[in-house]
């Protein structure tokens, strides 16, 4: 692919989803966009770009942006963040919000739903502590197709064996042929919405806990800054942000700081500095 066409795709992706594609990742463009080009009747990606340059086609542009997003997702991915959430963060929020009895969680870039569903299952296990509480899990993703899959709550045998303890599989899923469907109870505990992280999130409201894991790694520096500042604006003053294990806020935003090195949990400056302040 000529550099002129590469530049076009790169700018389109940066503009639409913040995705940063370096030259060494051009193979990703080839493998993911050729099927899109073929589907729309073009023999090559270059033909597709040529056509787009002549006449804008919004539906095709959306499809290109969606095809380039990585949707890898596991249940209880990395285990530790969920342990931290259950053992430290949840008890804190339950203490601090005992008057309003309301807790709001946001999974930004939820992909096919494994992360919000993991949280919903975890909260279900803690139901004895949550009676009378209004627990809200908002899960968003930029991709409509992936959100539709998430809402459907239908997972392949391969997917349910990645990270999901078998006891939870038996408890919360029903078998449908080679697939497993998550129970209505868990599905209804999650509200799915289409949302682009490059836009203003304040319409989603304020959150006690935000999970934005393994998303920033795909963004360039400027986009990382912008997204982190925006997240800072919707995380409650005493709320927390979970990032992926290879991500950090350091040097990117003045708003959120690591609670402790290596934990992947971040807080506003001015909020209690450590996690060790249990009631």
């Amino acid at each position: 692919m000529g550099s002129e066409y590469f530049d076009y795709i790169r700018d389109l992706l940066k503009d639409r989803s913040g995705l940063a594609v370096s030259l060494d990742k051009t193979y990703l463009i080839d493998t993911r966009l050729l099927p899109v080009a073929r589907k729309h009747g073009y023999d090559t990606i270059v033909d597709m770009v040529k056509a787009l340059k002549i006449r804008h086609n919004e539906a095709l542009v959306v499809e290109i942006a969606e095809a380039m997003n990585t949707h890898e997702s596991l249940f209880f991915r990395d285990v530790e963040p969920f342990e931290l959430f259950k053992n430290i963060i949840l008890p804190q929020v339950l203490q601090r919000r005992k008057d309003t009895r309301r807790m709001r969680i946001w999974c930004a870039a939820c992909s096919s739903g494994q992360e919000p569903y993991s949280l919903a299952m975890l909260l279900h296990e803690e139901a004895h502590r949550l009676s009378g509480w209004n627990m809200e899990i908002v899960a968003t993703d930029i991709s409509h197709s992936v959100l539709a899959r998430a809402k459907e709550g239908l997972f392949s045998q391969f997917e349910v064996q990645r990270g999901l303890p078998v006891q939870m599989l038996v408890k919360h899923f029903a078998q449908e042929g080679d697939y497993w469907r998550i129970s209505d109870k868990i599905r209804k505990a999650v509200t799915f919405k289409a949302f682009n992280l490059l836009t203003d999130p304040r319409g989603l409201g304020r959150f006690d806990v935000v999970f934005c894991r393994n998303v920033l790694i795909y963004f360039d520096l400027e986009t990382k800054r912008k997204v982190l500042d925006a997240l800072g604006g919707v995380i409650a003053p005493d709320g927390v942000l979970f990032l992926g294990s290879s991500e950090s806020t350091i040097g990117l935003t003045e708003q959120l700081w690591p609670v402790e090195a290596g934990l992947g949990v971040y807080k506003h400056t001015g909020s209690p500095p450590s996690l060790a302040e249990l009631p």
């Binding site: 596991l74 285990v79 045998q157 391969f158 064996q161 990645r162 990270g163 303890p165 078998v166 006891q167 599989l169 038996v170 029903a174 078998q175």
Partner: protein
């Protein structure tokens, strides 16, 4: 080094599992049916058991019940690895004392994920 007993009547499956487990730094012992597995456990209790369901002589589930009744038979972490992929079999396995359950076909990623979940890795 932790030890894992691989119980499967298919030599090919045992070979694939052995390769994956060696990569995860396990010592492996093999058994072709439940009775052989039981004898192996009586001689030397492993840290983990990767267990097929359908085998001649003694099935995986029969072996598991006998194992859990042995002195120290509650110690090994038992992970079923079988083509029986319906919820009734899974429930039966959990009730008999299985710690995890892999539905075939499996790959190294699934074994690694499941072994991590049960604290073997």
């Amino acid at each position: 080094m932790k030890s894992c007993l691989i119980v499967d009547d298919s030599k090919v499956i045992r070979m694939v599992a052995k390769k994956i487990l060696h990569d995860l730094a396990f010592e492996t012992v093999e058994a072709a049916d439940g009775q052989q597995a039981l004898d192996a456990c009586k001689a030397n209790m492993p840290d983990a058991v990767l267990l097929d369901w359908n085998m001649p002589v003694m099935s995986g589930i029969e072996y598991l019940r006998e194992l859990r009744a042995l002195p120290n038979g509650n110690l090994p972490v038992v992970v079923f690895c079988t083509t029986e992929n319906d919820i009734e079999h899974i429930q039966e396995a959990i009730e008999a004392g299985a710690n995890e359950y892999i539905m075939k076909p499996f790959d190294s990623e699934i074994i690694q994920a499941k072994f991590t979940q049960v604290g073997l890795l």
